[in-house]
């Protein structure tokens, strides 16, 4: 009945760390695994494919120039191209391979010291490298500064593939740097992006009002990829998630009437995607 909604994948970052821990592999920035432990990355893409995900993100979220330089001896093309190749090998044409890029860890003027040109060059390098391996689309996710997302989306739009944009929101219903849904729609709409919405943030209950606001304010297809709440460490030192897979699926269900793409972010493993798949089939 809801089979017009496209199923996305879950968390790449937190899922890879869980896998690394199970295999006794040292925790490192997850993009390094594209080169040092490609089997982990392959396994995760396979897991999401088996769970029914129709668009799968490459393991490239934080693999931008400054980060790659600071934490490895690799180059951006090495890391990003390895990621796209792994995804393509596993997925073939059974699902869509999306080149993933997240925000930089430095802030732009006036909040930080980075200038627009420098920011644009970083995205040109990262997205350009990834596009050489011909992913099917580009997703820019978890941005908290609309200006940074605008710069990245402008770069991404040059490649002639669909570009999807999602920002992360605070309790206030704005991004960390104060952007409102209206501002986001007004700024990104004219760029001709193919999907817009929210990901990560603070769990499905707090995310629903935000995605509803998007629905009121734009006709661009909506992306909804909330996380499994904010994980907390209890008194005995165990990490507990706010939402298990079933609760998560139940909580996101109301959004199915308005969104075109649905998935999970931080904390959402394969079981969450499976639970959503069931939801889409009922």
């Amino acid at each position: 009945m809801k089979n017009n909604v496209v199923l996305l994948d879950g968390a790449v970052g937190t899922s890879l760390w869980e896998k690394a821990e199970r295999h006794g592999i040292a925790k490192a920035p997850v993009w390094t695994y594209n080169i040092t432990h490609p089997e982990l990355v392959r396994e995760l893409a396979q897991d999401f494919l088996d769970a029914g995900a129709q668009i799968i993100q490459t393991n490239t979220f934080g693999a931008n120039g400054p980060a790659v330089k600071r934490s490895s001896k690799f180059t951006v093309p090495q890391v990003v191209q390895a990621a796209v190749r792994i995804a393509r090998e596993v997925i073939g044409t059974r699902a869509t391979v999306s080149l993933d890029a997240g925000p930089l860890s430095t802030l732009l003027e006036p909040y930080g010291d980075m200038e627009e040109d420098e920011c644009r060059e970083i995205y040109e390098e990262m997205i350009g490298a990834g596009m050489a391996e011909k992913p099917d689309c580009i997703t820019l996710m978890t941005f908290m500064d609309l200006e940074m997302l605008r710069i990245a989306a402008t770069v991404a739009k040059q490649y002639g593939v669909p570009v999807y944009c999602a920002m992360t929101f605070e309790k206030s219903g704005r991004t960390l740097l104060g952007n409102t849904v209206q501002e986001i729609v007004d700024t990104l709409g004219p760029l001709g992006i193919d999907g817009i919405g929210m990901n990560c943030s603070l769990g499905p209950d707090l995310a629903l009002p935000v995605i509803r606001e998007f629905a009121e304010k734009t006709d661009i297809p909506l992306i909804f990829k909330p996380n499994a709440g904010v994980p907390v460490v209890n008194a005995s030192g165990e990490t507990v998630k706010d939402y298990d897979a079933q609760t998560f699926a139940r909580e996101v269900a109301p959004a199915l009437d308005i969104v075109s793409y649905i998935g999970g972010c931080c904390g959402c493993g394969v079981d969450y995607i499976r639970a959503m798949k069931e939801l889409l089939e009922t």
């Binding site: 925790k27 860890s105 960390l176």
Partner: protein
């Protein structure tokens, strides 16, 4: 001619580009540099309190912090040596494996405004680096650790454990913070203080060294 009120207003407005000029004008009008500094510190604590009360948010804090930084840089040559570090020295960093530093940077700014000299080790800082930095700076009074990921909370625990083993431990107080950190966690790992936000961190830092 700039007055102290102008200095305060420009910081409160977060005009980082204009702040150095206004501060310079105030100096040139013969206002004692120490008074200018105190006015800026006052502005920062007003902003900090507004932030704690949820009247303003992260972007406003970031912008004010930047204006403050520029203002202090302009004023520094006119101040007596040590005027901006009378409370003592703090070593701070985001723990190993963690790259989040927006919150930590706000803590740095508030603590500096409270009169401490801050050695900021940046992000992804190991226990070894914390220990050797304190060793190289025997006058360190506070060590601050920030963690934003539940997966790096064990690193925080480990760094506190290492610090707790050192002979210099009685000379320092350890403060911890970051969104997933709680008072309960801070107590369990043997830190001396936890605060929920940057403005409160500055207040507590002053109490810890007095």
């Amino acid at each position: 001619m700039a007055t102290l009120q102008d200095v305060q207003n420009i910081i409160l407005a977060g005009k980082a580009k204009l702040t150095p000029g206004v501060v310079q004008e105030a100096v040139d009008s013969g206002i004692p540099p120490k008074d200018i500094l105190n006015t800026m510190i006052e502005a920062m604590s007003i902003v900090g309190e507004r932030f704690t009360r949820n009247e303003i948010f992260v972007p406003e804090m970031l912008i004010t912090a930047k204006a403050m930084k520029k203002g202090v840089a302009t004023l520094k040559p006119y101040l007596a040596e040590g005027a901006t570090s009378a409370m003592g020295k703090m070593v701070i960093g985001t723990v190993e494996g963690d790259l989040h530093d927006i919150g930590k940077n706000l803590v740095v700014m508030m603590i500096e405004s409270a009169g401490f000299e801050v050695i900021d080790l940046g992000v992804d800082v190991t226990a070894d680096t914390f220990v050797s930095t304190v060793r190289e700076n025997p006058d360190t009074k506070l060590v601050g650790l920030s963690a934003l990921l539940t997966t790096t909370m064990p690193a925080m625990e480990n760094i506190v454990a290492e610090l707790n083993k050192q002979d210099f431990r009685p000379n320092i107080k350890i403060m911890v913070g970051g969104a997933p950190i709680t008072q309960e966690f801070a107590d369990r790992i043997g830190a001396d203080a936890y605060t929920e936000d940057a403005a409160t961190a500055a207040v507590v830092a002053k109490k810890l060294v007095s």
